[in-house]
């Protein structure tokens, strides 16, 4: 499965949920396929998509919060898996597109070919940690996590076939933040999604 195909499977399943995107190819592919106000595109600060997503999830327990992460980002901040497992927000779904390379910088090898990240998540304490590698497995795995209590982890193994011509996110960082905050809105006491 190509990375693009994994995004094509997932994006139509999104409603108004906030999605925090890791930098590089994750941001660019998702932005290219469908820009959403509720997408937070993290263009720098590599490694922090997971902690940003955790912060959103802890402060908005009324919303399902999704992280679109990459293997390089997860490996850089493996300790954040422990923070997510320890704080255990039921409303957090952590999806990792694992292409085993640092693709947006020229496909240098990452370590995820040797380190099974879904097992790292499981042993850190995520109650659910799934791994898929076929296109038809993506939707059922995502729906299982979205319909259950989290934090849930989904590792999607994809081929490293990013098109370097895929554009960058064109919004300014301030625009990205403002749109994301507007899409999140304010928490209504007692509300549940």
């Amino acid at each position: 499965m190509k990375g693009t195909e994994a995004f094509q499977e997932l994006i139509p399943l999104l409603k108004d949920q906030p999605v925090v995107h890791a930098n590089g190819y994750i941001c660019r592919e998702s932005f290219q396929l469908q820009d959403r106000e509720a997408n937070f595109y993290m263009i720098g600060s590599m490694g922090l998509a997971s902690s940003i997503g955790l912060g959103v999830a802890l402060c908005r327990p009324d919303k399902k919060v999704i992280i679109f992460d990459g293997d390089g980002n997860v490996l850089m901040s493996m300790g954040t898996l422990a923070m997510i497992a320890a704080t255990a927000p039921k409303n957090l779904v952590h999806i990792v597109f694992d292409n085993q390379v640092y693709e947006s910088t020229g496909s240098q090898r990452s370590l995820s070919g040797s380190v099974p990240l879904e097992e790292v998540a499981r042993s850190s304490g995520y109650p659910v940690a799934l791994k898929v590698s076929k296109k038809e497995e993506v939707k059922p795995a995502f729906e299982k996590l979205m319909n259950g209590d989290g934090p849930g982890f989904l590792l999607i193994k994809v081929d490293p076939v990013f098109d370097p011509k895929t554009g960058r996110v064109t919004h300014t960082p301030e625009e990205i933040k403002t749109r994301f905050m507007n899409a999140l809105g304010r928490r209504e006491e007692g509300s549940r999604n």
Partner: protein, 165 residues
């Protein structure tokens, strides 16, 4: 010396309601009080930059975050401050202990103690050194900066707060 409990009360009165960080003995009183404060979380972070990310998410989700850390974690945070907080305009109040201040500390703190202020200045991170006399004024200054959606750092020297360890 400032009372940690009194300062925590001032922070919560100003609306700060989300706390995280990596401990330092100089901040042990503050963290100990925070852990006993009902209705506001103190989330132990694994590393300072992860705490920066956590605060950024909390702010965008409507909370007002505070990050407590030792200055030894400043290096880890510089990329997060410059490529997240400063360009997206995501504020966070950083309470940073100033180990190595004046060159009188354990060897591992001496160099960072010396360059601490220069690093903050070079990164464009506004800050103030908190004292028992100026603490209300610098907290007001921090709140004004945060209202402009920019981070602000309070540098804490040894002996400013009562310690609990």
């Amino acid at each position: 010396m400032l009372s940690s409990q009194n300062f925590v009360d001032q922070l919560t009165d100003k609306g700060f309601n989300f706390f995280t960080g990596v401990p330092c003995s100089l901040l042990s009183g503050l963290i100990s009080c925070l852990e006993k404060t009902p209705d506001v979380p103190y989330i132990p972070a694994v590393r300072e930059d992860a705490a920066v990310g956590l605060c950024a998410g909390a702010y965008m989700a409507g909370s007002l975050p505070v990050l407590l850390m030792q200055n030894s974690g400043l290096g880890y945070c510089l990329n997060a401050f410059t490529s997240l907080n400063l360009i997206y305009k995501i504020p966070t109040l950083v309470i940073m202990s100033w180990r190595g201040c004046g060159g009188n500390d354990a060897p591992e703190h001496i160099i960072m103690g010396k360059i601490n202020e220069d690093l903050l200045k070079a990164a464009g991170m506004d800050y103030a050194v908190i004292t028992p006399e100026n603490h209300r004024d610098v907290l007001e200054r921090a709140v004004r900066k945060i209202n402009e959606e920019l981070p602000f750092t309070l540098l804490v020297k040894k002996g400013i707060f009562d310690e609990r360890h």
